[in-house]
């Protein structure tokens, strides 16, 4: 009894199940990473849009046109957009490095000023990793148009018209701004590849290749081509299978009047 009271005092009400879920997820990721390190390779279903990135960078090299990677309009500390921005920035780094290694210029932009610093660091790092650190200069590859959704949209459209990229990757957090930027991309004949959570309908209309929802997070791991990091995608799947199972059992039990699972999840 005393122990329960202490735990109740220690853990905030209504968040115990969430904590257990988080710890279990952490263990799953760490375990999958170690299994991958031990040599296990998983069969991963192909993500068409991810495969298209490599091919399209090659096409840009042939045409002599740059690549534009845009992570969109969120900040790093937003609870709804932060993760998508990070996934977009990971893709930016890999694309910039791959592009630089075959002589293609990669530029980027963002709406939130926080992201400028991250993008500058990523460009600096990617060019160094590609063996071309001398190409980097602050403000050369990263565009900022002030901190507003549509000043970003107009600025990004202007950037597309200016640079005429052969490939545009929309990877991060977006809203209706992608309609303006996507259409401008179509006008300069760019291949458009997109991945996001909330604004997928708009990207579906504007992009040639699409990563729907969570595919973007899988892509941010897969694009690194690091088998150990890729291993963490397996853990992502285990968590989803568990969530689906809990949801399905919860639904069946709830249908016959047993609300146990529903209640436990709210503890």
């Amino acid at each position: 009894m005393i122990q329960t009271a202490v735990v109740e005092q220690l853990i905030r009400t209504g968040r115990s199940f969430q904590l257990v879920f988080l710890i279990a997820s952490g263990i799953a990721v760490y375990y999958a990473y170690n299994v991958a390190k031990g040599g296990k390779l998983w069969d991963i279903r192909p993500i068409e849009a991810l495969d298209a990135i490599g091919e399209s960078i090659g096409r840009c090299a042939e045409m002599g046109r740059p690549v534009l990677v845009t992570p969109g309009i969120s900040s790093m500390t937003s609870s709804s957009g932060g993760a998508q921005m990070l996934a977009g920035l990971t893709v930016l780094g890999e694309v910039a490095q791959q592009a630089a290694s075959i002589g293609v210029e990669c530029t980027t932009n963002s709406s939130n000023q926080q992201i400028i610093i991250a993008s500058e660091a990523i460009m600096r790092n990617a060019l160094t990793a590609a063996g071309k650190p001398e190409l980097y200069a602050p403000g050369k590859y990263v565009r900022w148009f002030g901190g507003g959704q549509f000043s970003y949209a107009v600025g990004c459209a202007g950037q597309i018209l200016e640079e005429k990229p052969g490939l545009i990757i929309f990877m991060g957090y977006f809203l209706a701004d992608t309609i303006v930027t996507g259409e401008t991309g179509a006008r300069v004949g760019a291949i458009k590849i997109g991945g996001t959570l909330g604004a997928i309908p708009f990207l579906a209309m504007m992009c040639d290749y699409l990563m729907i929802g969570e595919e973007m997070f899988a892509a941010s791991a897969l694009i690194t081509k690091d088998p150990f990091i890729t291993g963490t995608i397996a853990s992502q799947d285990w968590i989803k299978v568990a969530a689906t199972a809990v949801m399905s059992i919860g639904v069946i039990l709830y249908a016959v009047g047993i609300k146990t699972i529903y209640t436990i999840m709210g503890i």
Partner: protein, 212 residues
């Protein structure tokens, strides 16, 4: 009657310049584009200066000496534009990434994951009440949500046992997602159509004095 107000004229000219993007790249659009950027940047600086004043005044008045750490960390990010010492900016940025990640994880887990799963379970109860129209709706909601989960499996049931039936579920999920995309997209047409009306009506009414 056409407006006499110079600000209405500036507003109308900028609107038209902005709309020339529809025609293609041109100098008028460039003018509007750079005006937009400059005003937003200028406004951000005005707001930013006020914010900094408000935030660091307790340091200057000696009320909160701990703010010195924030000030130093803040000044460190400015090094990002100085190539040889740009790495200095990455230290304060680690704080942003760390706190941002923690905040994102706790909110996402509570609302997006656990909250949504609980909502699906609770809706099961409604399958058996209300009109057949509503009941069918709730049934669709629950089955579509669970079915679509299978689309997002990348490593399990890809090959071997269970892969065949799961591939059907994955296909089901794919089409459910496409229907969702189409419906959301189509529904937003109404709002954007109205916003088109508000932009063009400002020109017609305020500037040219036409229409109702």
């Amino acid at each position: 009657m056409i407006s006499q107000d110079p600000w209405v004229w500036i507003s109308a000219i900028l609107t038209i310049f902005s709309f020339t993007l529809l025609y293609g790249d041109n100098k008028f659009f460039r003018f509007a584009q750079y005006t937009y950027t400059a005003v937003v940047v200028g406004h951000s600086v005005v707001v930013g200066v006020q914010t900094l004043q408000g935030r660091f005044s307790p340091l200057i008045s000696g009320q909160k000496p701990m703010l010195l750490i924030s000030l130093i960390l803040g000044l460190m990010v400015l090094f990002v534009v100085w190539r040889p010492y740009a790495w200095i900016a990455s230290i304060p940025y680690a704080v942003i990434i760390g706190v941002g990640t923690g905040l994102m994880m706790r909110a996402t887990l509570q609302t997006d994951v656990i909250g949504s799963i609980r909502a699906v379970i609770a809706e099961t109860g409604k399958i058996f009440i209300g009109s057949p129209y509503d009941q069918f709706g709730y049934l669709i909601r629950v089955t579509f949500t669970i079915g679509t989960m299978f689309y997002f499996l990348f490593t399990v049931f890809v090959k071997g046992t269970g892969s065949k039936p799961v591939s059907y579920l994955r296909d089901f999920g794919k089409y459910a997602l496409l229907i969702y995309l189409g419906l959301s997209l189509g529904n937003s047409a109404m709002q954007y159509s109205g916003l088109g009306a508000s932009a063009i009506n400002r020109l017609l009414r305020q500037w040219l004095g036409l229409g109702g």
